[in-house]
């Protein structure tokens, strides 16, 4: 290879590296942190490293061998991070109640004793002779866990380690995921039902009419999402413009429930996402030569048949990428359902936010996040394959 391209390549790389580094640190690393949080569970193994290493050799039958017991004694003696120790105690106690008192007592005892004296745990507390405490300890030490990922889809491991469904009623993650896909699908369908004829209309007319139709799509797109959601919040209220107007026209007696329910969410989300449907279809239709429809007509196809045989098949790629785009954005939506929806309309994003901010359950938030991220990435990949340029709307 000659020198000039090599130098050019160096120059190009130098220009790209700052952004690459920036995104690696502030975009990829956060995502990686979240993925890790969903599978890493090292509270116990960090506090009890020797026990974690030794207990692996135990087959789970009877009581663990003495070197495991000695390792635990040594770990407890050395543990100086009180906060981490407290976390470990809480973890173990939630698995088997009584672990808190057991560990506190044991810790105090081993710290009082001298280093040289070998402590017999069974003598210290009878409970160390029960295998269930040791089993709980063994379950808690592996640094990686699928607990969160399973919990995200309402599953868990039973005592024997087999994967089983969570008790019905204990968790609603599956229901919420189903609801997320359902709402996203309804919104996609509604957008397609409105967006396809609208895009065709915009492509068929010319002059100021086309400009007006396109502006009507672009102005909402430029307008802040929050403003649009606020607008629907105000309009859909019981005393809002829509209910007032319907009442004034005498169509209804009492206000229709439009807000804090599914209807409101679907209306507001369709409004927000409609441009993402219209624009891809419109741009596909623009590349269809106008005289294809004329050609169909000259060969005896009436308007409906020409539409069915020519225009519709040609707009399918746009319809498909528009639908993927709308669906993909819809499943990750947070603001609109959070503001316009009711308790039964919260989607997966709201649940993630709830676990992360409400209960600080990072593991579960991370696991649900991983699922949402995965689905989105798959959809984006398909979208990128379908449309030649994998960019969204070109801003």
């Amino acid at each position: 290879m000659s020198r000039a391209p090599a130098r050019e390549r160096m120059g190009a790389l130098l220009l790209i590296v700052p952004l690459l580094a920036f995104l690696a640190v502030f975009f990829l690393w956060p995502l990686w942190t979240m993925v890790r949080a969903s599978v890493v569970d090292d509270t116990v193994s960090r506090v009890l490293p020797r026990t974690a290493a030794a207990i692996v050799s135990w087959d789970g039958q009877g009581l663990p061998p003495t070197q495991v017991q000695q390792a635990l004694v040594e770990d407890l003696r050395q543990a100086d991070d009180q906060q981490a120790l407290g976390e470990t105690v809480r973890r173990l106690n939630s698995a088997v109640s009584g672990f808190r008192t057991l560990l506190t007592r044991t810790t105090n005892a081993v710290r009082d004793g001298t280093d040289a004296v070998a402590v017999d745990l069974g003598d210290l507390d009878r409970r160390w002779k029960e295998p269930r405490f040791w089993l709980a300890l063994r379950d808690a030490v592996p640094p990686y866990t699928d607990r969160n990922l399973l919990a995200a889809v309402d599953m868990k491991r039973d005592a024997g380690g087999a994967i089983v469904s969570e008790d019905p009623g204990a968790s609603a993650n599956r229901l919420i995921m189903f609801r997320t896909f359902l709402v996203a699908a309804i919104v996609t369908l509604a957008s397609a039902a409105i967006g396809l004829p609208y895009a065709m209309l915009a492509a068929a007319v010319t002059g100021w009419k086309r400009t007006a139709l396109l502006l009507a799509v672009l102005v909402p797109l430029w307008t802040s999402l929050l403003v649009r959601t606020t607008a629907w919040f105000v309009l859909l209220q019981n005393e809002g413009l829509i209910n007032r107007a319907l009442q004034a026209m005498g169509l209804i007696d009492s206000p229709l429930p439009l807000i804090f329910n599914r209807v409101g969410v679907v209306i507001a989300m369709t409004h927000v996402l409609l441009p993402f449907m219209v624009l891809p279809i419109y741009s596909v239709l623009l590349s269809v030569p106008r005289n294809l429809m004329q050609a169909a007509a000259s060969m005896g196809a009436g308007p409906l048949r020409a539409f069915w045989r020519v225009l519709l098949p040609l707009s399918l790629p746009g319809l498909l990428s528009g639908s993927l785009l709308v669906f993909m954005v819809a499943i990750g939506y947070y603001i609109t359902p959070a503001l316009v929806g009711g308790a039964n309309d919260q989607m997966i994003s709201s649940v993630i936010a709830f676990y992360a901010m409400g209960t600080a359950n990072w593991g579960l938030a991370g696991a649900l996040g991983v699922i949402l991220l995965l689905v989105t990435m798959i959809l984006y990949f398909i979208y990128g394959r379908l449309s030649k340029s994998p960019q969204l709307l070109g801003a």
């Binding site: 004329q294 050609a295 169909a296 007509a297 000259s298 060969m299 196809a301 040609l314």
Partner: protein, 354 residues
Amino acid sequence: MQPFIQFESVSKSFGSLAVIDSLDLTIHKGEFLSLLGPSGSGKTTILMMLAGFERPTRGTITLDGMRIDQLPPHRREMGVVFQNYALFPHMTVAENVAFPLEMKRLPRHEIARKVERALDMVRLGHLKNRRPSQLSGGQQQRVALTRALVFEPRVILMDEPLGALDKQLREHMQLEIRELHKRLGLTIVFVTHDQSEALTMSDRIAVFNAGKVEQIDSPHAIYDTPRTRFVAQFIGETNLIEADVVNVQNGHATIVLGADLAAKVRSGPELQAGQKALFSLRPERMRLGADPAGDNALDMTITDCIYHGDHMRVQLAKGNFTFTARCERLAGNWTVGTPVVVSFDPRDCTVLAP
């Protein structure tokens, strides 16, 4: 001959812009009529009105005695070949050709048979499962042509169908279309801005300018006896001469070209002595050197000589009067500044309408 298609005082305007102004046009059955004119002359608008994509603002169009100007395009049974072919990109070649037959709701096996036969006729049978984007320009052209012919429409309309092809292919397709026209006895209305295309292919040519027909005639008549200044200039090359008519007798007129050059030309009833008139004289009809039997011999001087390979172009002048002549080869060693006698047949000089 029976008129097949008839435009009667058809006008078309877009908003305040009048594109066609009170047009009368008759097209006969089985003829190949070219609509020739510069862009913006209204020729495509006429085709679009015939096909039904535009409605006349005023006037009527009849086909075989039936009014068609209010009929929607899909009921007119006219095969249209579009400028960029307008092949359906999502259908194969065979599906494209089958489309008009399906619209007629022919039985499936008959469609298959007709498609097969039509594609074989234009030697495209082996490409029937390709998509239009996988074909060359010439092949796409032939598919478009086949698609327009296959459902046996009453008229074939072609809108500059050869414009996108390169020169060789274009000439080949011209012959192919002409051959199809003769073999199938088609009525073809052909829009073009290429005069040589119109001259080679047509039975008749209608020359358009600014929404009006300037002249409608056989190619031969259009070229040899143009009737207006526009036709004379648009088709081929010509010398336009404004001259004084000195006297008129026996179908001939004597005119003075300027700079004391007098010439004898053929005359119609429209010329009168003492008037000024406009004449057209094609460069290739002029000879350098005296013609002993001829009527005209003008003494001029060669001012320029341009080599064109198969011919020479010679600029001639006397005083401020100039001519261009075209000749095969220069006889002798005539160079710039040489005096020369120029002769031409009185029948080759045409009077143009003022």
